[in-house]
């Protein structure tokens, strides 16, 4: 599903990249590539940092660079439902299925996106939440619906949970070529593989990009519990039931009064 999109993106990037005599090279890295969820996990903040490497010619020209970093989490199909009053009570009456939208989407930039790139460029590069495709399932077909209230609701609800965000001042340039940004991952972010796509702009044009990866994994006990519950449901259930009986028995012995 997303493969043609990535191919199109790569082609677009190549085209735009090839246009100017690009002498800049984008270098970026993350403070941590393996985030482990342990029992005291309450969310984490990652630092993205990088620099724009210029050759001698460009270094003298004093170009102002822009950075847009897009963090995308594992994709998972989501249903958005709308309530309506039926016989006096509120019931879910309508729903739309979104096919594999990102479960986490953060767009970090140093300036508002509409200042960094033109509307045309933003759409082509899928820059920002508004231009990120969120295809829906329509009668066994998959497609984009423009001005869809269900899409708006999905983005709003995900934003309220801290899962979707777009920040125009999240990237800070420490020097004209050195930048950093913090990626806030709230506690409820899903586990899995994340990509960070960093794009470098100058004068409204994409002049370089680089992609980074990181993963969020459950480790130790948490991992064990989840795996047991998913893979061996019956055994897990029996073990949980046994734990309940044991707790009940211990309590009855501990508080015995006769």
């Amino acid at each position: 599903m997303s493969r043609p999109r990535i191919a199109a993106l790569a082609a677009a990037a190549l085209l735009i990249n090839a246009a100017p005599a690009a002498a800049e090279r984008l270098v970026a890295s993350l403070s941590n590539r393996h985030i482990m969820i342990t029992s005291n996990y309450t969310g984490v903040e990652l630092v993205l940092f990088g620099s724009v490497e210029r050759d001698a010619v460009n270094a003298g020209r004093g170009i102002a660079y822009d950075i847009v970093a897009t963090v995308i989490g594992p994709r998972e199909t989501v249903r958005t439902r709308r309530k309506q009053r039926v016989l006096g009570i509120w019931v879910n009456t309508a729903s739309r299925t979104f096919v594999d939208p990102p479960s986490y989407l953060a767009v970090l930039a140093n300036r508002p996106l509409d200042v960094i790139a033109s509307a045309d460029n933003r759409r082509k590069l899928q820059l920002g939440i508004a231009d990120t495709p969120l295809p829906e399932l329509i009668n066994n077909d998959i497609g984009e619906v423009s001005n869809d209230p269900f899409r708006a609701a999905l983005v709003r609800l995900m934003s309220e949970r801290g899962l979707y965000s777009e920040e125009a001042n999240a990237v800070t340039f420490l020097t004209p070529i050195l930048f950093r940004a913090s990626i806030k991952l709230p506690a409820q972010v899903p586990i899995g593989d994340y990509t960070v796509d960093v794009k470098l702009f100058a004068d409204g044009n994409l002049i370089g990009h680089t992609a980074l990866l990181f993963e969020i994994v459950k480790v130790g006990f948490e991992q064990f519990v989840v795996e047991a519950a998913r893979e061996h449901g019956l055994l897990y259930g029996l073990a949980t039931a046994f734990m309940a009986l044991l707790t009940g028995w211990i309590a009855s012995v501990a508080f015995r009064r006769d």
């Binding site: 958005t80 519990v225 989840v226 949980t240 309940a244 009986l245 707790t247």
Partner: protein
């Protein structure tokens, strides 16, 4: 201290959940009920998904009713034959309840049905309990003796076949109503995450004429058996039982229940029933308001799994 719940996928404060376990345990020990009808809404309130809350509370109720059942067993105040007959109906009911639960979740109507069931059940039971206990209190004030129920009054189902003799309870009744009661309790337990003790006790007393001596013990045995089977069924089909959450709840619950039982012995029966009735009614009203008042957000989202 925050702890991450592996199945509910949210971090919670251990002391908050422990305190909830203690408080609900106190109430359940005081009134002799499982407390599931209070615990499930509380968990939903702190952000646990309703489905995970229902599934995990079944485990919590299994633990608290097991410790209660052991105490009654030591006093020989329970009827195993009756409990096992009820259980036969209860297991079928649990399986049906878990199946309905799975189906409703797929239809996006689980939250609504849980809400509606809570409103209906809690309002009806609450009103009945408040009415009955208020009458008893007024009668007591007027100095009239407690109304005695006529023994031997027969309802239509006493004429049904397949009669069984339950020796310890000293009743001789058809197996059909017993199985049906078991089915209802098992079904509601699986769908709503409640033990159903507050329904079972009056049903056994008023419908089957089981003596009060064996009623609570028998109800505890049935509750723990149906909740154990609901735990296993929920874990095997929906993978929603959070063992970490259940463990914190049950530790608080069993401790709270001991103090609750102490406190309960110092209050007179009809007042105890009045307080429980008001509590049940309050929870029911809370659910009713939630269904009737326009929600802050008409939209909600739910993950339906990766890929397609």
């Amino acid at each position: 201290m925050q702890i991450y719940l592996p199945i509910a996928d949210i971090p919670v404060n251990v002391f908050l959940v422990l305190a909830m376990g203690l408080a609900v345990g106190f109430i359940s020990g005081m009134f002799g009920v499982g407390g599931g009808f209070l615990m499930t809404p509380l968990l939903i309130f702190i952000g646990v998904q309703p489905a995970v809350a229902v599934a995990s509370v079944t485990t919590h109720v299994a633990a608290s009713s097991f410790s209660g059942a052991i105490a009654y067993w030591r006093r020989r105040a329970l009827d195993f034959t009756l409990a096992l007959t009820l259980l036969a109906g209860g297991i079928v009911g649990s399986a049906g309840g878990v199946a309905l639960f799975t189906w409703l979740r797929a239809l996006d109507q689980l939250d609504l049905v849980i809400g509606l069931s809570y409103v209906t059940l809690l309002t009806v039971v609450g009103v009945l309990m408040v009415g009955e206990s208020a009458r008893a209190i007024i009668r007591g004030r007027q100095g009239k003796p407690v109304e005695l129920r006529r023994p031997g009054s027969h309802a239509w189902f006493h004429g049904l076949p397949l009669k069984l003799r339950f020796k310890r309870s000293k009743v001789y009744v058809s197996a059909i109503p017993v199985l049906a009661i078991g089915f209802i309790i098992g079904f509601l337990g699986a769908v709503m995450g409640i033990g159903g003790g507050f329904l079972l006790v009056p049903m056994l007393i008023y419908l089957l004429r089981v003596p009060t001596v064996t009623v609570i013990g028998t109800s505890m045995v049935l509750t723990f058996l149906t909740m154990v089977s609901a735990t296993v069924l929920h874990a095997a089909t929906n993978h929603l039982v959070d063992a970490v959450l259940a463990l914190i709840l049950m530790v608080g619950g069993v401790i709270g229940a001991q103090f609750g039982a102490h406190a309960g012995q110092r209050i007179r029966g009809e007042w105890l029933r009045l307080f429980l009735g008001l509590l049940v009614l309050a929870v029911g009203m809370r659910f009713a308001f939630q269904l009737v008042i326009r929600p802050d957000d008409l939209y909600s989202i739910r993950q339906v799994g990766g890929g397609l």
